[in-house]
Amino acid sequence: MTKKKGVLEFIAEHRFLHILLSILMGFLVGAVFLVIMGLSVGEAYGKLISSVTNLKGFSYVIVYSIPYIVVGLSVAFSFKTGVFNIGAEGQFVMGSMAAACVGILCSGLPGIILIPLCFIAAMIAGAFWGLIVASLKTKWGINEVLSMIMFNWIAFYFSNYIAGIPAIHSDGTAEATKNVAAQARTLFPNSFIQRFNLAPTFNWGFIVAVIVTIVIWFIIEKTTLGYQLKAVGSNKNAALYGGIGVNKSILTSLGISGALAGLGGALQLLGMGGRISVFSSQEGFGFAGIVVALIGCSNPFGVLAAGIFYGALNYGGSKLNLVGVPTQLISVIVGTVVFFISISIIFERLKYVGTKLHRDTPKKPAVPEKAEGSDKK
C-alpha cells in the first residue's frame, strides 16, 4: 500500500463516480447512435434538457418518478436479501388493481380514510403476490425467478379480468375500469396547480415516496431486521450459522418488497390515471424498478435520485418526437448506463492491481452491499 493513490484508485473507491461515469458513457453512446442515424445530437439533447428544466417540465418529472422510486425501492430491498425480485411487475399490477377496487367500491368514504385504505389494500395485495412466490420457494424449492415470471403474467391477466367485471368496468365504452372516487385522488388542489402552472397530475405521491425512502433506509441500516436480511443476502450459510432463519428472511424480504411494489401501483393509480385500462402488454414498471435499483446501487437515497433521473429521461424522451428523434434513444442511453454499471467492477479490480492483492478479488459485487451496518456485534 505504499503506492501513491492514482486516479484509477480514486475512482475505484467511490462508487458514486462509477455511476456518473456510466451515465456519461450512456449519453456518449447515445450521441454515437444519433450521429450514425444522421440525426442532430445538439437538437436531441437540447430538447431533452430544455423539456425538463422549466417548472412545468420538472413537475412532470416528479410525477413520472413516483412509481419508479417506489418500485425501485422494492427491488433494491429484495437485492439486499439476495433475492432478485423480477416479480415487482406483477406486484405492482396487483397493488394498483386492489387500490382501484377499493377506490371504486368504497366511494362513500371520505378521502382521509379512503386514501390510506387504498394504500393498505395495495400493499396487502402486493405483499400477498410476493409471499406466494416466496412460499413456493421455501416450501417446495421452486425457483423464484421462474415463478415470478409466471405470476407477473397471471397478475396481468387477472387485472384485465377484474377490469371486465360489471361492478368495476367503466360505464362508457372505454376498455377500462370506472374512475376511482374523486376524493381518493392524491392530486394537489387545482388552484395550486394553476397558479404555478404545474403538470395537471401533480400529486402528493412524491412526498409519500420520500417518506418511504427514509423508512426503508431506516429498516435496512438501523434495525435488527435489516441486519438479518443483509446477513442472509451476503452469506446464507454464515447467517444460518449465526442463528438467522434463511427461509423466514426470504419470506419477510419478498413480503416487504411486494408491499412496496404494490404501494407503487396505488400511487401511480391515485396520482396519474385514476383508473386502470385493459392492457395488451405489460407496462414495465417492474422492469423500470430493476433499472432504477441498479442505477441507485440499491441504496435507498441512491434509488431516490435514480428514480428522478429515470423520470426525467422518460419525460424528456417523450418530447423527443417533436424534433424527429425516436423516443427509443432513451432505452439506448439507459441500457448503456446499466451496461457500464455492470462492468464498473473492473475499477474495483484495478484497485488490487497496484497493491498485489489478487487473491482477495471480490467475487460478488453484484448487489452493492455496505458492510458497516454491523454495529450490532
Partner: protein
Amino acid sequence: MTNIVNNLGIIIYATLIYMTPLTYAALGSCFSEVSGVVNIGIEGMMTAGAFTGTVVAYFTGSPWIGFFCGGLAGMLFGALHAFATVKLGADQTISGTAINMLGPGIVIMLARVMFDSTDTIPLDSTMKIPRLFKGLFDTSTVFGRFLDNVFANYASTYLVFVAVIIVWFVFYKTRFGLRLRACGEHPQACETLGIDVIKMRFLCVSISGFLAGLGGACVTMAISNQFRPISIVGQGFIAIAAVIFGKFRPHGALLGCLLFGLCSGLKVVLGGSSGVNMQILSMIPYAVTVIVLILFVGSAHVPSANGKPFVRTK
C-alpha cells in the same frame, strides 16, 4: 367426431406454432446457463433477431438469409453480454438487464430511421419462412384435414426439433459438451485440467445469442410477417422459465416449451367455442406451469457456478 378431430388438429398446430420461438430461445438459454452464465438478456437478443430477420429478408428476398442473419444479430448481443460478463467479470444479471434495454432500443430506433415507423414493412409470403407440407394432404376427408392442420407449420418448427436433438447430442455425447457442463459446475477444476473456461463461456453465451436470435426471427418471419415493438413481449422470459422447468437440460426445456405451447393452443381453441372468459383462459399456461412444477418437477439443480463471475487466479 369430425369436430373433435378437427379441433385436435388445430390444437396440435397451435401448440407447435407457440413452442417454436420459445424452444429456440430456451436452447440458447441452456447453452448460457449450463456453462455458468446467467442470461436474462434472451428477450433483448430475440428482439434483435426478430427485427434483423425481417429486414434482411425484405431486402434480400430470401427468408433463409434473413433467418440466419436474425441469429447473427442475436449473436452480436450475446457476444456483448459475454464480453461484459465473461471477459470483464461483470454482474450477469445487470448486464442481461442492459441487453434487454439495448436490444429493443437500438432496433426500434433503426426501424424509425429506416421505415419512418416503429413497424417494418410486411413481408410477402415468398419472403416468409415457407410452410413445408401445406397442401400436401387431401382436405376433403376428415383425416386429411387433420393432417393438413397438423402439418401446416412453418419449416422453422421442424428445424427446431432437429436443433433440440443436435444440442442434446452436443451436451451429452461430445467432449465439448462435457467441458461445457463442467465449466458451469466447477470452473476452477476445469482450469486445472487445461480447459479455457473464459473461451468456453464466451463461445456458449454467443451461441446462446444466436439461438435466441433465431427464435426472435421465427416470430416475425413465420407467425407474423413484420416486426413490431410488441412482437417480442415476454417470450424470452418464458423461455428462461422453460429452461428452469426442464432442469437446465435441452430435452427438459423442450418439454417445458411444449407444455406451454399446448396450454396456449388449448386457449385458442377453447376461447373460440366455450363461454369461458378470455382473460381467465389466458392465465392457464402460466398457472399450469407453476402447478406442474409443484406436483411433478420440484426444485431443479442449478449449475453450481451459475451466476458467479469466473476470475482467473494467478
